[in-house]
Symmetry: C2
Subunit: 318 residues, 2 copies
């Protein structure tokens, strides 16, 4: 079988942190996500030839683009000099807290690995995606990139060495994500964080981390909900998100198990038991966001178990 | 059936903290533990009439004794004026890091509840055991008391409100505990702790908490071992335990999955896969402790799933 010389992939958006799990938990959702077209060329260069959906805000220079860096690092690691043209179609807002830069990096490295005949396993691609994020953003959240790459719910047990664990989730767990059109730059959200935290709060946080993992693995929806508390990051970051408490109150009143910031925000997410509840929660959150006067996007899905997918010819973007 | 007017119970020792899970994780072991005899009397008073095995160090005043306070709080809660004579047989060293005060409180409240005809469920007894510990020690570790009372491996998801979750453990998980005869007073061990911890270390810790819970629940011995790391408390408390690093090195070389301080020490514990390995680990740890010149006690068991038990007449201590 001939290797294809072009491919289009979709890499899913992700919700990182997941309340108590700052920097260690994340999961993929079905939509939104980024679509990337990669085409092998004779040029020996990795080029970003087009970006759509970013309102002109993302850099076309390969070295400053998450997907460009990820693909380049991958090829350098394998010692391959190969020209690649990348078209990046952003299908989610930038600075949304939905792992936009991670999805682009993941899509890029997943696609180039397919084009090279899959010399590396999917989980071996994570370091290149992280390098992509680091080059573009100054730091890398493995919680976003690992979840987008591997699909499912992931725990980053350790960063050094990198140790990513996939956590099974209940069959009937549904996610509602709402993104109000307010930008919270990740760097600003990170600057709010304190370098030192009270031991007492850290203990509260890791009790909840243990509870959330246990709840997910034992299908205990009550425990999942009770564990979705963040006493360290949310009190600081929620101040950047207009109407955060109102939206939370509305979501919980509509039946959500728990509510939190997605990544560094402004997107907010909930877990619910069953799609009907997740839809009701979506409606309740929409109503609050509308009352606040923001436009928004809302998404309801299960945890996306699949990660990146190759898109068939007929649905490729051109 | 007549209610008995006397009962003897055994309450197991416990390993709290379990490396990364400071103040939120604990489990019971088969031995050692405390034995308590409770006898109903006409005196209307809760009295500690005898304590053995403590070398005269524990207070006989009811208000200063963990078992005495626990039994008294229980009776007050139920509005019962009932005389009780308690004989407390300490079968583990004090200040060992094996939850000695928790075992006495748990044994007391478990026994009085049996004598009263079990008006409360076992898990409802926890607050009285905690009051007992608090009165005697100035603070209460729910991780010790809950593990001794409920048996098994427990996660204290939250202290306020108290939310204790039982975590299933792999069938073939064995524990080795060694107690060198060096006293580390819990209060001194707690004074070493810092009120503030670096966020970076807290993130490392809760990644490991998530990993340990996930490893236990998925029978992933490798993940259990990798997660048994404590970057916050152990670096401080291990300085109070002579030869800590040598004992760790010997235990790990003998095949332990992971190694840590039991409670606030000086007891040290390991997890191993299989009894044969746990026995080898015990031998390796003993050799180091002997070389250090300490006497010691060593225990190998599974996680004790049972919690307190009523002892039959013939084995009751007199």
């Amino acid at each position: 079988m001939d290797k294809p010389n072009a491919i289009t992939v979709f890499a899913p958006a992700t919700v990182a942190n997941v309340t108590c799990g700052f920097d260690v938990m994340g999961f993929a959702i079905d939509a939104p996500g980024d679509t990337l077209e990669l085409k092998l060329t004779d040029s020996k260069e990795v080029r970003i030839v087009e970006i759509t959906g970013d309102e002109g805000r993302l850099p076309l220079e390969t070295e400053r683009n998450t997907a460009g860096v990820a693909v380049q690092m991958y090829l350098e690691h394998l010692g391959i000099r190969q020209g690649v043209d990348i078209r990046l179609h952003k299908q989610m807002p930038l600075g949304s807290g939905l792992g936009s830069s991670a999805a682009s990096a993941v899509g890029g490295v997943y696609a180039i690995n397919k084009l090279m005949g899959e010399p590396l396993k999917v989980e071996e691609l994570l370091p290149f995606a992280l390098e992509g994020e680091r080059a573009a953003c100054g730091f890398a959240h493995a919680d976003n990139a690992a979840a987008s790459l591997m699909g499912g719910f992931i725990l980053v047990r350790s960063y050094a060495p990198l140790d990513v664990v996939r956590i099974p989730v209940p069959e009937n767990l549904y996610i509602t994500v709402i993104h109000p059109d307010v930008e919270v730059p990740t760097k600003q959200a990170r600057r709010l964080l304190k370098e030192q935290v009270p031991l007492r709060d850290a203990v509260t946080q890791w009790g909840n981390v243990g509870g959330l993992i246990a709840g997910l693995m034992s299908n205990d929806y009550g425990l999942i909900g009770r564990s979705m508390q963040d006493v360290i990051v949310e009190p600081l970051r929620s101040t950047l998100i207009p109407g955060f408490e109102q939206v939370r109150t509305a979501a919980m009143a509509a039946g959500a198990l728990g509510f939190g910031i997605s990544g560094s925000g402004p997107s907010q997410f909930t877990f619910s038991e069953g799609k009907a509840t997740a839809d009701q929660v979506a409606a309740a959150m929409e109503k609050e966001i509308q009352a606040l006067g923001f436009t928004y996007q809302v998404y309801v899905s299960k945890v996306n178990a699949q990660g990146p997918v190759i898109l068939p010819e007929e649905v490729r973007l051109t």
